[in-house]
């Protein structure tokens, strides 16, 4: 430190240093161009590196998770009285809603039985922890500590307790990458309630993904509910996504329910596209119920109703124990058209 002024000036650039610098810049440019053209090899390399780095990241994410819990606890502690009051009120409101929901559920089950509606296939899920951040300002992805070992495949939907987060874009043995709804490569087909308008939720690296392909005069207003439509078969229909908001320049965008800044435990839904489920015969089952047939196999038995309720729960809340348990053979086959029926009507 002291002798820094008396030291002779360092050589600016050695020749070999300059040559290797130029070589490295060229190599980086070549990689960029190659990566644009040929993605398979790079994706494989990326997956291998992610898999190898997973234990390190897992190690690093543990103290972070603990730190976050501590901060959250402290936060909660400060507002515990207000929060309690708010929850009391909300609970009172929810109890009335629960009454209504139970009545509607019973009525729905009766109608479904009458019409012999095909139910959603039950959805299994696997829960994991986010261990890796996006690590850059140009991409919106997370790394989760689940992989092929846990049955995670590319394309599966990822939810947290609030709603849809994104989907798996690449799956390794132990770790996988989640593409968030906000990433500029993310496109998710959605339905907007209550108008049942279809649109594509398209990320652009901003906080609010936008709604594309929404016809003019669609009647969609800020505050409407956005759920997945299930088109394309990658995601189950009916997963809560967010609320429609309007930006200053009049664009309709979506405020997602999930808070990406607080992502910790996430659920990967192992949904199967209804078309992959064997033994389906859509028209015959959807058209008017034949009385004789109904008594034979369409009569709602207790187990079928369980399957129905479980299946619905699986479709909306992202799979519950009931949803999984309800996935009897009947449930799977019966659910074969639910995706198309439920979403497209």
């Amino acid at each position: 430190m002291q002798d820094s002024f008396s030291r002779p000036a360092p050589p600016i650039l050695g020749v070999s240093n300059r040559v290797s610098l130029i070589f490295m810049v060229t190599l980086a440019v070549a990689l960029l161009l190659l990566g644009r053209a040929e993605t398979y090899v790079f994706d494989q390399a990326r997956q291998v590196v992610t898999d190898l780095a997973a234990p390190v990241l897992e190690l690093g994410s543990r103290p972070v998770a603990a730190g976050r819990r501590l901060v959250e606890r402290t936060d909660e502690f400060a507002y515990v009285f207000d929060e309690n009051e708010r929850l009391r009120q909300e609970n009172a409101e929810l109890l009335t809603w629960k009454e209504k929901a139970l009545k509607l559920q019973a009525r729905l089950a009766r109608y479904e039985a009458l019409l012999n509606v095909q139910l959603d296939p039950s959805i299994n899920y696997v829960t994991g922890r986010v261990i890796g951040d996006t690590g850059g300002p140009f991409v919106e992805t997370f790394i989760v500590n689940l992989g092929h070992e846990h049955g995670v495949e590319s394309g599966q939907a990822v939810v947290d307790s609030e709603g849809l987060i994104g989907r798996i874009v690449s799956a390794g043995e132990r770790a996988s990458r989640i593409l968030l709804l906000t990433d500029l490569n993310s496109r998710v087909p959605v339905t907007i309630e209550p108008t049942r308008q279809r649109a594509v939720l398209s990320g652009d690296n901003t906080v609010w993904p936008k709604l594309e392909f929404l016809p003019a005069g669609s009647g969609v207003v800020p505050g409407d509910h956005v759920v997945t439509s299930g088109h394309g078969g990658l995601m189950p229909p009916g997963l809560p996504v967010g609320t429609v908001i309007q930006t200053e320049n009049g664009d309709l965008r979506v405020q997602t329910f999930s808070n990406r800044n607080r992502l910790d435990m996430v659920r990967v839904l192992q949904y199967r596209f209804p078309m992959d489920v064997p033994e389906q015969n859509p028209p015959a089952k959807l058209t008017a119920p034949v009385p004789g047939e109904e008594s034979e196999e369409g009569q709602p038995s207790a187990s079928d109703q369980n399957g129905a309720l479980g299946g619905t729960a699986g479709g909306t809340a992202g799979g519950t124990a009931g949803g999984t348990a309800g996935g009897t053979a009947g449930g799977v086959v019966r659910g074969s058209l639910a995706g198309a029926g439920g979403a497209g009507e």
């Binding site: 490295m24 590196v49 976050r68 607080r262």
Partner: protein, 177 residues
């Protein structure tokens, strides 16, 4: 006994010196991993400071011979592979930054902390501009500059802490240079 043998380093010492010389590179790799640890989520903000940029800048300004261009490239490539962005983006940015900072080394020779910090702020701005331009070209659309700006501000703010840590490493290295 020849005097050469008594003052020459033993093989163990030589191995130790080699290991020491890889220390800046290891610190660089560590910085890359640190970028991917969701530290920001503790306080509920989505930002991953560019820790590796600090390492690249510090060593390019102080001891480039301990952090050669291929090591810089490797650090950038690891970051590219771990992130889902264009492969080569950070490798390119870091190597260019390394070259630029090296040509300005004389400015940092005095090692006044404020000069070093100001230099880093300018370097971060340049790095952000390069990375943003390359990524925008790669995706063929103008990316929102907000996230990269936020990242740069946090990175520059955290730099003094890391510079102190790097200086420690440099002091450990000093005898072997």
């Amino acid at each position: 006994m020849k005097p050469k043998e008594t003052i020459g380093p033993t093989p163990a010492a030589r191995a130790g010196k080699l290991a020491l010389l890889t220390l800046p590179f290891l610190v660089g790799l560590f910085c890359v991993f640190l970028t991917f640890v969701p530290i920001g989520s503790i306080v509920g903000i989505e930002v991953a400071p560019a820790f590796a940029l600090m390492a690249v800048y510090y060593w390019a300004a102080h001891q480039p011979e301990t952090f050669p261009p291929y090591a810089v490239f490797a650090v950038g490539l690891l970051q590219d592979l771990l992130s889902a962005g264009p492969i080569g983006l950070w490798a390119f940015t870091y190597v260019v930054i390394y070259g630029v900072v090296q040509t300005q080394r004389l400015v940092f020779a005095g090692r006044v902390p404020l000069v070093l910090w100001t230099g880093f702020a300018l370097t971060a701005l340049l790095a952000g501009t390069i990375a943003w331009s390359v990524a925008s070209l790669y995706y063929a659309r103008v990316l929102p500059p907000g996230p990269v700006l936020l990242q740069l501000i946090v990175t520059v703010a955290l730099f003094p802490i890391f510079a102190t840590l790097f200086a420690r490493v440099e002091r450990i290295l000093a005898p072997s240079l």
